[in-house]
Symmetry: C2
Subunit: 345 residues, 2 copies
Amino acid sequence: MPSRVTAPRKVILVDIAQACGVSRATVSLVLRSSPLVSAQTRELVQGELKRQGYVYNRAAANLRRRSSTSIALVINDLSNPFFAEFAAGVDEALAAAGYVTLLGSTGESPERQHAVLASLIEHGPAGLIISPAEGSDGTRLSRLLGAETPVLVFNRELVGTSWDFLALDNAHGAALATEHLIALGHRRIAFFGGHVGSSSCRQRRLGFQQALAAAKLPIEPSWMVESAPTRLEAAAQAGALFARDPAPTAAVCYNDAVALGLMLGLVARGRSPGKDFALTGFDDIPEAAVTTPPLTTVAVDPRARGRQAAALILARIAGSRRTPKNTVAPVQLMIRHSTCPPPVV
Amino acid sequence: MPSRVTAPRKVILVDIAQACGVSRATVSLVLRSSPLVSAQTRELVQGELKRQGYVYNRAAANLRRRSSTSIALVINDLSNPFFAEFAAGVDEALAAAGYVTLLGSTGESPERQHAVLASLIEHGPAGLIISPAEGSDGTRLSRLLGAETPVLVFNRELVGTSWDFLALDNAHGAALATEHLIALGHRRIAFFGGHVGSSSCRQRRLGFQQALAAAKLPIEPSWMVESAPTRLEAAAQAGALFARDPAPTAAVCYNDAVALGLMLGLVARGRSPGKDFALTGFDDIPEAAVTTPPLTTVAVDPRARGRQAAALILARIAGSRRTPKNTVAPVQLMIRHSTCPPPVV
DNA sequence: GCGACGATTTGGATCGGTCTAAATCGCGAG
DNA sequence: CTCGCGATTTAGACCGATCCAAATCGTCGC
């Protein structure tokens, strides 16, 4: 009979206990570095742990302790550098706090989001950070997650829920960009790109309009141009700005991707962004600093937002607070060379 | 006595069993949609599950079944769009297969990588996909992970290990780029950027040199310029290409970031990339298509690589294969406008 | 020499599921 | 009416840790 090669059984707590001639409870205490065990047995056990290559089974421990050391992170679009950087920040801070990140990405599909969440919560995370897919149904999410799970919503408001919310200061950022253009002398300013369906777009439009109103400038509805928040779509929509005379001399763009697309569209029409047309972005993606011309934009520091989100969910898990908390993250205008004074007529 | 408000205890399997007047085993069978239970009780139980808002505790189940439904994904640099896209592909494919992704990012630090891995394996993932941090010690990782864990290494070779490995066809990609430049008429071609410490850089250099040798062109050592794989570093190193006369008329760059940096450096020196100097990148990051000029580069489709990595680790977990397997992913040359013929002297 | 007391150690129940083997049910055949 | 058999259902051990209450140990005071 050929000798059967069995995979060496995993080393568990009792193996260590037996090898040391102590009880499981004692080994367990050593693992959690309890002060109860004597220095002598502690060393004995620790030596054996190393010798046998023991790995702690956190799932088993968590089962008994009814606790959890993981946090779910659900991202609408990981391939967007903004969210990737956010995720990196979250993971960095969670790891530092001893948590593990359960990742889920939804590709902006509420259906996938539902499935992903259903799967993630079965793993019993201590909390959830979610950047909702566009078109998410808050009520439906509430029902799925229950009132118990600690949740932090990032970036997009989720109406019908009472969870903590970390928002960017969209209105203020757009206002800063608009004021900068006004200060340069522009009087005909467009708002370009984004879907009004998304709350972030509505907020940025609001800030834009408030800044115009504060400067007593008119808001021309045909200069509020929608487009998908992608470079390609934005480039295709550039013409919409010049459909009528007079045309705007500057545009506040929904985000950097849209701004870069608009730049392409302008160049294609013989315009020269930063020379005869001024435009601003939003996000300050790494690319923004190195385009030609470098893009004036509103920086939001996504990695820092990630760390902040981690801190907020940990605070919520610690559970001191009771009422849901809204946090607004500051933004900063980065002035580069895509913004110039209007051409003299 | 004031009525104590207790958080509603989580609904567990026995709650359902009691409410239905059946045993735990029966409920368990329903949960796993076993054909053993009668249609009648199945419906009864399923109704109760929904009514009470039961959520499955996968950790408990996995404990008994000695199985796992999570896979760890360790990434050296999530803020790099290439890896972010890769991660998105992995997560997409894993989710489709019913797995959950445990994320860890290391920021290129072997120490962090060690800590992250130690923490992740305690959660008992069924397998691990790792894109190693630069300077990882394969032997050390082997010791940490043991011989049992299914592992797929991505992108960077890990010497001293016997794990599955998914590599990009670096040599071939660099050769394609080099051949393209030669076909355009270039005779003095540099290899720019990257650290020779990294295996991907060595492989790309190799392909570059083979293509030169095949065309019977000399390899000039002073035209092999190192730099950190970042835009800024690359821009700073641009001068090294023109230190001596004659200078190269074209460069194969280690990756897109380096190529974009070199473009900046060239412009700063009064050169005009795509007009009087040709250069190629590697990766085809989204930005490459929209720079001025658009960058000729080698596309590797990171999202598809992510899906492929997921498929490979799942196959390894299924365990049919025995010997470690090396997979080389194809690459594709994307010809854009950063490559031009050499200037006529 | 004995009971007390602080310092350690430990048996056994427990977390929430799954597995196995055995019990129970319903019904048609003999 | 009883037996046999397939279809369902179930009791109880089990996964690998933690927790609690109780046991054990050494030694110190009287």
